[in-house]
C-alpha cells in the first residue's frame, strides 16, 4: 500500500491561492478566484510593479524562445507553464515553425485542466501533469515520451519556476538530472526571482510572505546562485542578467521600473 508513485497530483483545494492563478491576475487575466486575487493584491501593495516584472518575464521568455527556434531547435519542454494566458511558448514557436512540438508541464491540476481545454485539438502542443521536483515524473511522462525525442536538441524552459523550489527540494540536483537527459545542442532557459540590490527587502519580503501562503513559497536567488543552475551548460551572452537586459529588442532605458531588476534571465547551451 506504500507503493504510491513518488509524485501524485495534490488535491484540488481552490481555497488556497495558486501560484499560476495569482500570476494570471498579475497579467490582467481573470483565470483566478477571489482567494488568488486577495493574495495578489497584498503582493501588489508591497511592490506595485509586479505585473511589469511578469510582463518583462514573458517578454524575455519570448526572446529566448525565438533564439532557440533560430538555433534550429524544434522541441520545447516548458516546466511550470501555469495558466495559459496569452503569448505562450507554443504561440511564439508556431509562428516561426508550425511543426515544432511543445510540451507544457505543471503540477497544478487546475492549470493542467485549463491547458488541456486550451490545447484540445492542437497536434503540436500538449500538457503533462508532473512535478519538477521529481524530474523522472516529467521525463517519463507519456506525453513527454510521445512528443519529444530526447536524442535530439530540446529547449528546456524553466521560466519563473525554479524560485519555487526550496533547497530541500534539491533544486540543483533536479536541474542536473534534467540536464543529463538532454542531448547536446539543447538549451536551458531560466528566469528567476532575485533579491533587488540595495533597496528592497522589506517589500520583497512581504511578497515572499504572500507566496508562503500558497503551496509554493518563493525563494530568491542571487546571480551566482542562478548561474550555478547552468552547470554543464555554456552560458550564452550576456549571461545571467536582469530580464530586460537579456538580448532586448530595444535597449533598456533608465526609465524602466527598477522592480524589473528583481527578475533574472539566462540561456545556456549544452555542449
Amino acid at each position: 500500500m506504500t507503493d504510491r508513485p513518488s509524485w501524485a497530483p495534490p488535491g484540488i483545494d481552490i481555497t488556497v491561492p495558486s501560484v499560476s492563478r495569482v500570476y494570471d491576475y498579475f497579467l490582467g487575466g481573470s483565470h483566478n478566484f477571489e482567494v488568488d486575487r486577495e493574495a495578489a493584491r497584498v503582493a501588489l501593495k508591497a511592490i506595485p510593479a509586479i505585473p511589469k516584472v511578469g510582463q518583462a518575464n514573458r517578454a524575455a521568455m519570448r526572446r529566448a524562445v525565438r533564439h532557440a527556434v533560430g538555433r534550429g531547435i524544434d522541441q520545447f519542454l516548458d516546466i511550470g507553464s501555469g495558466i495559459p494566458t496569452f503569448g505562450n511558448v507554443h504561440e511564439v514557436v508556431h509562428t516561426l515553425n508550425p511543426a515544432a512540438n511543445v510540451v507544457y508541464v505543471d503540477n497544478d491540476p487546475v492549470a493542467v485542466a485549463h491547458s488541456k481545454a486550451v490545447l484540445d485539438g492542437n497536434e503540436h502542443a500538449t500538457i503533462a501533469a508532473a512535478d519538477l521536483r521529481d524530474p523522472r515524473s516529467v521525463l517519463d511522462h507519456p506525453e513527454t515520451q510521445r512528443m519529444l525525442d530526447l536524442d535530439r536538441p530540446v529547449a528546456l524552459l524553466l521560466v519563473a519556476v525554479l524560485h519555487f523550489l526550496r533547497d530541500t527540494d534539491n533544486a540543483y540536483a533536479v536541474v542536473g538530472e534534467l540536464r543529463d537527459a538532454l542531448a547536446p545542442g539543447s538549451v536551458l532557459v531560466i528566469t528567476h526571482a532575485t533579491p533587488q540590490a540595495g533597496l528592497l527587502s522589506d517589500d520583497q519580503r512581504r511578497v515572499q510572505d504572500v507566496y508562503q501562503r500558497t503551496s509554493t513559497p518563493l525563494i530568491m536567488r542571487t546571480v551566482p546562485e542562478v548561474e550555478r543552475f547552468f552547470t554543464g551548460f555554456e552560458l550564452l551572452d550576456p549571461g545571467v542578467v536582469p530580464l530586460n537586459h537579456w538580448r532586448p529588442d530595444t535597449p533598456p532605458s533608465d526609465d524602466d521600473d527598477p522592480a524589473l531588476l528583481t527578475g533574472l534571465a539566462g540561456v545556456g547551451l549544452k555542449a
Binding site: 500500500m1 497530483p9 481573470s30 483565470h31 510582463q55 507554443h90 487546475v110 485542466a113 481545454a117 529588442d249
Partner: protein
Amino acid sequence: MTAQPAAPRCRAAGGTARAVGRTGGGPALSTSRDNLARFAAIWSRAIYPVTATSMTSAEFEQHLLPLARLLRDTLHAERFDPRAAIRVGEGLVAAHCTDPESLPSILGVIDAYLVLYCGPGLDLPAEECRVRCSRLQHAVAVGFSHALRERTLYEQESISRAALNAKTEAESALAASEARFRAVFETAAVGIGIADLEGNVLEVNESLTRMLGSESYIRHRRAGDWTHPDNGPEGDSLNRELARGERDHYHIEKAYPRADGSVLWADVQVSLLRDAAGRPQYQLGLLEDITERRRLLERLRHQATHDALTALPNRALFFERLDRALSTTDEHGADRADRRIGVCYLDLDGFKAVNDSLGHAVGDRLLVAVAERLRRCVTSPDQLVARIGGDEFVAVYADPPSLAAVTELAGRILKALSTPVLLDDRQLPVHGSIGVVHGPVGTRGAADVLRSADITMYRAKELGGNRYEVADPDADARAITRHGLTNQLPSALRHGEFFVEYQPLIGLEDGVVLGAEALVRWCHPVHGVLGPDQFIPLAESTGQIVPLGRWVLEQAAQQARDWQDRRFTGPAPRINVNLSPVQLTHPDLVAEVAAVLDETGLPPSALCLEVTESALIGANEDALKPLRRIADLGVAIALDDFGTGYSNLSSLRWLPVSVLKLDRSFTRGMRQHPADPVEMKIVEGIVSLAHTLNLTVTVEGVETRTQAEHLRALGCDTAQGWYYGKAGPADQLHALTLADAV
C-alpha cells in the same frame, strides 16, 4: 495560449482596418499615413505602460496602427456611424489592455490627438469633427467595457470549468485508485481489518472473515475482545499504546478463538492510521494465518525435545528446563535469586545385563515401561522427568520447598520401580540408583549440577544400588577425581601419558632373573603418577581397558624382545602381562596377541598372560575358548591372585593355565622366623597340587629373605616382591639381569 475569443477578434479588427485602409486611398495618403503613424505612436506610448501585453512597445505600436486607422476612417466616413469604433475598444482588450486604468489613457489620447492628426478634412467642419470624436470615444468605451466583461466572464468560466474538470479528474482518479485498493483489500490473502480506536470493527475483508469464521461473528466483538488463554498481556498493552498514539505500529503472534471454537494463530501487524492533523483515528490490522506453520513447528519442536522411544522430554529439553530453573531471574525479569533447585539422577541397576541377555528389543520395552512409571511420579508442573541417555533418567524440580521434597520425589521413583515389569509373562525386576542434588540457584551451572547428580548416583550404586544418595561436597570431590579420570582416559592414551614399569621375576632355585611383570602407570598431568588400582577399574568400566591393554601388551612385548636381543646366552627373559576380564571377552583378543608376537618377533613361550581367578570362575567353555587358543599359540597363561576367590581347585584340571600366582596373603606369615605352620602346610599343599597338574607356582609379595627361603624350601618356582626389586624402568631390570649373568 491566447484566450479563445480574444485572438479571432484581434484578427477581425485587423481585417476591418485593412479594408477601410483600401477604401480610404487618395492624394493626401502619404501625409495622412505619417499622421496616422504619429497618432499610433503617441497612443502606444500612453497605453503601453498600463498594459500587460508581452509585446514589445514597437510591436504594440504596430498593433495599434489598424485600430488608429479604423478611428480615422470612422471619423471621416460620409455616413458617420460611431458604433464602428466599438471594435477599437474590443481590439484593445484583445491586446491585453485589460486594466480599467488604461481606459483614461486610451480615451485621453483620442480626445487630444485624433482630431489634431486625423481631422478635420475639407468636407468636415471642425465643430462636427469634435462632436464625432466625442461620440467615437463613447463607442470605444462601450467596446472596451463590453469586451472586458466578455473576456472576464469567459476567463472566469474557463477557469471554473478547469477547476471542475480537475476536480472531476482527481475524483475519478481517486475512485479508480479506491477501486484498485478495494480489489486488493477484498482479494488479499492476508486478513485485513479496520477498527476504530475503541476496537469497533469497521471493515473486514474476505480473508479475515474466512480465517475467523463469519463476518457477523467478527462484527459482534471489539478488537480487544479477541482473547485467548495462550496470549500474554503484552498484546493489550501494545494496543493501548497504539490507541493513545504513542506508537504507530506493532507486530505480534496471537491466538484468536474462531467461530467454531478452534484456535487461529496469526502473525498480526497493527498500524495506527491518523487523520490529516496527525490525531489517531483508526487501527489497521493485517493478519496472516500461521496456524499450520505453528502446528508444524510445534511438532518439530516436540520431536526435537522428546525422546523417540519413551516420548519423555529429552536431554535438550531437560537442559532447557534446568537452565530456566537455575536462572536467578524469572521469565518477567524479576530477581529470583532466592530460588532453589532439585535434581534426581536415575540410572537403572543392571540394565546392561538385561540388554545383553534378553536383547535390545526387550531392553527398549523395559525402558518404555520405566518411563511410563516415572511419568506418574511427577506431581506438579515444576517437575519434569527426562531421558538423557540409554538407561539414565533425570527429574528436575524447579524451586522445591525443601530437600525433603526432592528426596520424596526420589523415594517415589524408587517405589515406582519396586515392582517388577511384566513383559511377555516374564517378570523383570527393575531397580535404580539415584543421585539427588539440592541447593540454591545461582551458584553453579547446569552441567555442574548434573555432574554432581551423576557422581552421587554412582555413590548410590557403589553402596549397593536401589537407593538414593544426596550429594555432599566432600563425597563429590572424591568422586569428581574418579569421574574426571574416567573422562580423561581416552585422551591420556592418545597423549602418551601412560608408561610401563617392570617388576623382576626371580627363579627361587638359583636366584636368577627369569623375566618381569609389566605394570602400567599413568603419569597424570595434575595428579602425578597413578597406580593401576586408581584407574584400571575405571578403564574396565568404560571399556577403555581394551585399547589400554593392547598398548601395554605391545610395549611389554617389544621390551622383552629388546632384552632377548641383548642377552646372548640362556633362555629368553619372560614377560608377564595382565589381562583384564573385559579384554577376555573382546573378540579381537586372540588376533591381537598373535599380531603382537608377530610384529615383535617375540617367541610365544616368552609371553605370559595373567588372568585373575575371579575372571575365570563360572566361565563356560565358550568364554574360555580365546584363552585356550592363546595357550595353543604357546603363550603361558597364569592364574593371578590365586586363593583370593573361591579357588575351585577342580577347575585347575581343565583350565588352559600353566602358572599359578599365589596371592601375597598366603605368604605373609612366612616373613619372619618361625613361619606360621598352617600357612606353610597350605602353601605346601598348593605347590604339590600344582606340580601334580604340571603347573609352576609364582609367589607375589616376597619382602624378606626369610620369606624367600621358606618358599624355596616349599618348592615354589618363582617369586616377585620388594625383596628382589620393586617395579621400575626397563633399564633397571636390564642392569639386574646383567648383574645376574656375571
